[in-house]
């Protein structure tokens, strides 16, 4: 009875919004409300006010920068939550049997029985290239596609590859979960610092024109956007590494 009732409720809840779908405007209608009110202002002023040819960047880190600060904080919060739940509440179970010398057990437990050029050489070659690309994406976020979130994800990927592909040979220093969560926190703090500096300069929060140093107005917007992107990069990379570290403590991959 309870199941039937809930299925009926779900069906009604799905059908009613679709039946009322005419409340939404046509796709691509130039005269619809979303295309004729605030967005016009964003499109027309992105170059002259925010000094960024990339409209998406100018909206998310200039016109509505406060939302992005909080989204970055959500990311950091997710990392901290995973860390304290998995590391705080439960003890690690030893799931993988130690294979010792037995070759059959080594195969079954996924331990490495042969070497391969993919794992040992190509990863080492790929990592610096991905890092260079990450830096490129980071500094290009302001003028073209890219930005802090993508750059952070790329840096996180490098460390992920490093930890997972060849666990016994680390190319990068091992970062513990506490340190990486701390880095994520510092990253979001750099973002907030952009706002705090504008407060010190006598402006409102995240009003980039009021930075306390003396450069042309449009340059100040660029500095603000760059600062935000660096903060976001550190925040995202730190979060990815935190989650990876916590999970790696729980399971074992092949050695």
């Amino acid at each position: 009875m309870r199941k039937v009732f809930s299925v009926i409720v779900i069906c009604v809840a799905l059908i009613v919004p679709f039946a009322m779908f005419e409340v939404m405007p046509q796709i691509g209608d130039p005269n619809s409300a979303p295309n004729s009110h605030v967005s016009v202002h964003y499109i027309e002023n992105t170059q002259s006010i925010a000094n960024s040819p990339n409209m998406v960047t100018s909206v998310i880190v200039d016109f509505r920068a406060f939302d992005t600060l909080l989204e970055t904080t959500v990311m950091f919060l997710a990392g901290v939550c995973v860390m304290i739940i998995l590391a705080g509440v439960y003890k690690t179970k030893k799931r993988v049997i130690d294979p010792g010398e037995s070759k059959m057990l080594r195969v079954r437990s996924g331990e490495k029985v042969f070497r391969s050029i993919n794992k040992d050489v190509i990863i080492t070659l790929l990592q610096p290239m991905i890092l260079v690309y990450a830096v490129y994406v980071l500094f290009h976020g302001e003028v073209s596609l890219g930005g802090g979130f993508q750059a952070g994800a790329l840096i996180g990927t490098v460390l992920l590859l490093d930890a997972m592909a060849v666990p016994d040979k680390r190319n990068f220093p091992n970062i513990t979960k506490g340190t990486s969560a701390m880095i994520a926190g510092i990253g979001t703090f750099i973002y907030a610092t952009a706002g705090i500096l504008t407060l010190i300069g006598g402006g409102l929060f995240l009003e980039y024109e009021k930075f306390p140093w003396n450069v042309p107005l449009l340059e100040q917007h660029s500095i603000g956007i760059l600062m935000v992107e660096i903060g976001v990069t550190l925040g995202v990379a730190g979060t990815i590494v935190t989650i990876m570290n916590v999970l790696l403590e729980k399971v074992k991959f092949d050695k």
């Binding site: 406060f66 509440v89 409102l204 024109e209």
Partner: protein, 491 residues
């Protein structure tokens, strides 16, 4: 002075971001950093409320982009008072939590403080914002940290948190769908601008659809009657040190957001306004009866209080359903009062757990001899819930009943009285267990020659005791301040 609205939210946010760094030095350094930040927010929110009363509402524009372009914080007397409430209970919870250490690891203790502080940040932000998408982001921070704090409460806590997470994600999605419908019809995300644009032209159907989505979304978040399924388990099994904040304030802020949408964005000119209010009224009447009846059968103190919360949330939405300024003032007074009552009761439960480690009602016989102050707050909060003057519960119910009688909604008045009597049944049962049942001679968890729990637990208990009485005695002043804003938006 002009930056007060952002500083109130920014200080806890920055403290949370840096808490892990400072916890590296010693695990208590991070905690004191956070406590300092929340106290500073408390002082500033009091200053801000005084400014608002003197000079009228404050509008704060981020990045100096005017209203529909950028994000806006708008503070009036209602959310001015709510900010103080969140800061006070957040601060008390932090003091209280210093006695409950989840782990000896510095990183994990620092992480707990970070998450608790971000919960306070999210609640403060949801209260002050004037932008519908900004509200969603703060809602996300609030929910995520709440899932985490509930999951920290052990094995059952993880299950409760998982259920809450599934339901809560649905709520967040429904909210975003509602925002999408409104955005498609107005092209703006600013609440004040949206209120103007929604009244132009015929948008009633879209508004109705969006409102139904909002009621479902905020109903889930505030645990209104048919959406309350996650709430009893979550309140019961949450981490002890965070429970007062979760149970006391977390359900109230979505209720406040629902009020914003109903009365500030939509306004009384909306064609289906009476229909929406009737739906809300039916739900709250069911909640008041159902929550009280379920609470009568509980043996676990935490569960009893959790079901009682379902009923009390019903009182708040009943105030919205009546819709006159007086009823809204009653609903908000009940919100403030209930935050202190429920947080106070959970501080008492925490004190008992701290000393004896027991939750069951059967174990607490004659506890008043051993913990007189805690039991004093317990009795006062219980009487306030039932509605005995001069505690705040009486006055909020009085305003609600008065408004219902003026609008000739006799069913609401009858249910208000019946629900109060049911409250009396189970709260007097609670008092009986504490005062009349024979002493079980419980073994103490901590063998020290003290009469009460430690000082950090007693401070919140005493503050809640004073606050319940003070809110009750100063109710006329508070209602006057609330009516400065509510007088313009009610029916």
């Amino acid at each position: 002075m002009k930056n007060l609205p952002i500083l109130i939210v920014l200080l806890p946010l920055v403290a949370a971001q840096l808490c892990l760094v400072f916890s590296r030095i010693h695990r208590n350094v991070g905690r004191w950093l956070v406590i300092t930040a929340v106290s500073a927010s408390l002082v500033m929110s009091v200053m801000q409320l005084l400014n608002v009363i003197k000079d009228g509402p404050i509008h704060y524009y981020f990045g100096n982009y005017r209203a529909p372009i950028g994000i806006e914080f708008s503070i009036d007397t209602v959310n001015g008072i709510m900010l103080i409430l969140v800061c006070v209970i957040g601060l008390l919870t932090f003091l209280f939590s210093s006695e409950f250490r989840v782990s000896s690891d510095k990183t994990i203790v620092g992480g707990m403080n970070t998450v608790l502080c971000l919960l306070i940040t999210g609640l403060l932000g949801m209260t002050s914002t004037g932008d519908v998408f900004n509200l969603y982001v703060f809602l996300e921070i609030t929910s995520l940290s709440a899932y985490c704090l509930i999951a920290m409460g052990g094995n059952k806590g993880v299950i409760a948190a998982y259920r809450y997470m599934l339901v809560g994600t649905v709520a967040a999605t429904l909210y975003l769908l509602g925002v999408a419908v409104l955005y498609a019809n107005t092209g703006t995300l600013n609440m004040a601008d949206m209120a103007v644009l929604l009244n132009e032209g015929d948008k009633n159907k879209a508004m109705l659809l969006a409102m139904i989505l909002f009621i479902a979304a905020f109903g889930i978040k505030m645990a209104l009657f048919p959406f309350h399924g996650w709430q009893p388990a979550a309140y019961t099994h949450a981490e002890t040190s965070a429970r007062p904040l979760i149970s006391g304030v977390m359900g109230k802020i979505p209720a406040y957001a629902m009020f914003r949408y109903l009365f500030c964005v939509y306004g009384t000119d909306f064609k289906y306004f009476d229909f929406i209010l009737d739906v809300l009224g039916v739900l709250s009447v069911c909640a008041m009866l159902y929550g009280s009846i379920r609470a009568m059968g509980q043996k676990d103190m935490r569960k009893l209080l959790a079901y009682s919360s379902v009923a009390q949330i019903g009182y708040i939405s009943l105030g919205f359903a009546i819709g006159t300024p007086l009823a809204l003032a009653g609903a908000f007074l009940h919100m403030f009062g209930h935050a202190f009552m429920k947080a106070g009761l959970f501080f008492c439960v925490g004190a008992i757990v701290y000393r004896y480690g027991k939750f069951s009602l059967e174990d607490v016989g004659r506890l008043y001899k051993k913990m007189p102050i805690t039991c004093g707050l317990l009795v006062l909060a219980a009487l306030s819930m039932v509605g005995i003057p001069p505690a705040v519960g009486f006055f909020s119910k009085w305003y609600l009943g008065l408004a219902a009688a003026r609008e000739a909604k006799w069913i609401y008045l009858a249910v208000l009285v019946i629900s109060s009597l049911l409250n009396a049944v189970y709260f007097f049962r609670l008092i009986e267990k504490f005062f009349i049942n024979p002493d079980k001679g419980l073994p103490q968890k901590r063998e020290r020659g003290r009469i009460e729990a430690s000082a950090w637990i007693l401070i919140p208990v005493i503050v809640c005791f004073v606050a319940i009485l003070a809110l009750g005695l100063c109710n006329a002043k508070i209602v006057d301040v609330l009516l400065l804003t509510l007088g313009e938006v009610g029916l």
